[in-house]
């Protein structure tokens, strides 16, 4: 399936803060969709496939299809939390390859900031954990962070470097739209309000509103459209658990499997990847994913992210828009990592890896994008 499909258009809502407006999640979805269609040079009538996930709508494909006037012949409501959208791209490529659809809209929107500033979630309570009061989902990630610190000597300063590097990217001129662009230091992160040890408020992603959309089509069709070709070289998905007490090893995620599957399809390795867009719900995430996706050895993620290696000017560009920590995080960030991956290819990178994470390090989905040269 290498290169059979391509991402032909991307779009995002006009705002990441709908406070004081009457904008609904569907409105932000519509904004993002219009931008993605314009970006590709398509209309809603060209769309014959739809993939979405939501914490607002129980059967979200129906709401989105109705709202946008799309009558899909192929529809995917796969919900793997924030990893959903990487999986949507994989499934869309398979559907296009099978002839079930030709132009697939992958779309997402949320007004969780406007709605009260806490994660909008449809996560059910797990009876064997809920009584102990883990604050979902930060405490689950805090447990993973503590275990990583214990096993490998990872430090809170190294965790903080992830947030500081993300902020430095958000402050780049090209990322004027990023939600958080104030200067940020390691001391700021360490001194922020402690929420669930060892993670402070600034080890946690933003709470924003926002909508995102992208268009997947056949590589053949994409060649006739407006934008430079961004083929999907490979993709893979994996999940091993739902609840944190059921995760076999809190320092090893199913990204090892999703990444291996994506690399195999793309016929590339981590050494070939020129930019990485990781779902950074918390600062521990990029450390785990850089290890599990082969950019460094297991346990080496802390030193790897220190000293600006993943910041602007570093050896490996990671989360070049500022990520969920500084760009935007409307409940689920996965689609925004994909959009940034597309931008990186359009700006000259040949191989870019986008990785999504869902629930509590549970679902892992990886998409590898390439340039025309890499195809």
């Amino acid at each position: 399936m290498r290169g059979v499909a391509a991402i032909a258009g991307i779009g995002e809502s006009d705002t990441f803060d709908a406070t004081g407006t009457d904008l609904s999640p569907l409105d932000l979805i519509a904004q993002a969709t219009l931008h993605a269609l314009d970006d590709a040079g398509l209309t809603a009538q060209d769309v014959d496939g739809l993939a979405t996930a939501s914490a607002y709508y129980g059967i979200p494909n129906l709401n989105v299809g109705e709202h946008l006037g799309i009558r899909p012949r192929w529809s995917d409501a796969n919900n793997l939390g924030g990893a959903s959208f990487m999986s949507h791209v994989l499934h869309a490529a398979a559907a296009i390859n099978a002839g079930l659809a030709e132009v697939v809209l992958v779309v997402y929107g949320s007004t969780q900031r406007k709605d009260g500033g806490r994660l909008k979630s449809i996560a059910e309570a797990f009876p064997y954990e809920q009584d102990y009061g883990p604050r979902y989902p930060i405490s689950q990630y805090a447990l993973a962070a503590h275990r990583h610190m214990h096993e490998f000597g990872t430090t809170r300063e190294q965790l903080a470097q992830v947030a500081v590097s993300a902020r430095a990217w958000a402050r780049e001129e090209r990322n004027a739209k990023a939600f958080a662009r104030d200067p940020l230091t390691v001391e700021d992160v360490l001194g922020a309000r402690m929420i669930s040890e060892p993670l402070t408020k600034l080890d946690a992603c933003l709470v924003t509103d926002g909508g995102g959309a992208l268009i997947v089509t056949s590589t053949e069709r994409a060649r006739t459209l407006k934008q430079p070709l961004v083929p999907v070289l490979g993709a893979g998905e994996a999940h091993w658990h739902r609840n944190i007490s059921q995760m076999p090893d809190l320092t090893t995620t199913a990204a090892q499997d999703s990444g291996a599957r994506a690399y195999a399809m793309a016929e590339v390795s981590a050494r070939d990847v020129q930019a990485v867009e990781l779902y950074d719900a918390f600062t521990i995430n990029p450390i785990l994913f850089l290890e599990d996706l082969g950019f460094c050895g297991k346990g080496e993620g802390g030193p790897f992210v220190a000293d600006g290696r993943i910041a602007p000017g570093g050896a490996l560009p990671v989360n070049t828009n500022g990520g969920g920590l500084s760009y935007c995080h409307p409940g689920m960030y996965g689609l925004f990592a994909l959009n940034e991956g597309v931008r990186q290819v359009r700006e000259g990178k040949d191989v870019v890896l986008c990785h999504g994470n869902g629930a509590v390090l549970s679902a892992q989905s990886t998409v590898i994008l390439g340039s025309e040269r890499a195809l």
Partner: protein, 77 residues
């Protein structure tokens, strides 16, 4: 295994029986949650019988603990 279910998640086995745990184990990880109402710890404990549970309390990782049951909740300290 824990929690109880009808199929073994490791090998698919179906010949399963209830067993009582001794409650002794080792702290695998922990976190202390800070909120307006105060702070409290929670942890994951690896039981000697080979399964992992969440419990109240935040002893250091690697601490040997004997879980107590208080009002239906597991307590590690």
């Amino acid at each position: 295994m824990h929690p109880p279910r009808l199929i073994c998640p490791v090998d698919g086995g179906r010949e399963l029986a209830w067993e009582e745990s001794g409650g002794r184990g080792t702290v695998y990880s922990h976190t202390t949650v800070h909120s307006r109402e105060g702070s409290y710890g929670l942890c994951l404990v690896d039981l000697e019988e080979g399964y992992r549970v969440m419990a109240a309390g935040a002893p250091a990782i690697g601490t040997s603990v004997a879980l107590r049951v208080e009002e239906g909740h597991l307590c590690a300290e």
